[in-house]
Symmetry: C2
Subunit: 115 residues, 2 copies
């Protein structure tokens, strides 16, 4: 993966990792606490956690034998911004698109819609 958004979206594309985010949004937790609800070997889960850390979405500190994880909001905000931006552009074109949709439905008797 190349840039910031690549790795962020990649990280969010997995339900386990999204669940971790959802959990951490309401406060920090240890690795075992985070792991508990997931029916999956610990090492496997750790790699999901590593993906989140590598992307900068999650930070952690280890105290004694316990590692405590928490969310870092930056990437989240950035991604939300990108989506908002796209949507803004798209919405500013709504009228033109509607015109075009008319055009299309008028012109195309016998168009296909499938892949």
């Amino acid at each position: 993966m190349t840039n910031q958004l690549d790795s962020f979206f990649g990280a969010m594309a997995d339900p386990t990792r999204r669940a971790v985010i959802e959990r951490l949004a309401s406060g920090p937790a240890s690795v075992s606490e985070l792991h508990k609800p997931h029916d999956m070997a610990l090492p496997t889960f750790l790699r999901h956690l590593k993906v989140l850390e590598d992307t900068g979405i999650v930070r952690s500190i280890k105290k004694g034998r316990v590692r405590t994880c928490h969310i870092e909001a930056g990437p989240l905000i950035e991604a939300q911004g990108w989506l908002a931006w796209q949507r803004e552009i798209w919405e500013s074109r709504l009228d033109r698109l509607e015109t075009l949709a008319h055009q299309i439905s008028k012109d195309s008797e016998g168009e296909t819609n499938d892949a």
Copy 2:
């Protein structure tokens, strides 16, 4: 990939596909138009497009030999909503987190921060 968000985030995790979205946000385009700026074989590009269509982010209609693609805003809005929701939860905990951060930095002389 299992649910709506999985496939959406998965689709957005690729720079080529995000570029297509960025292009389509400002108006519909044919397959060749979309392909042009990407240094990649057409069949390869078509598969990216298929990912976007399968996810419901892009729709298309074929008229004659030309397939015209356009954006479907639904998934975009949904994902933005999910991010906003997480952020909201997180932000409502800011005070508590700061308290906790104090706690941690007070308690931990000799913690590690690495993976």
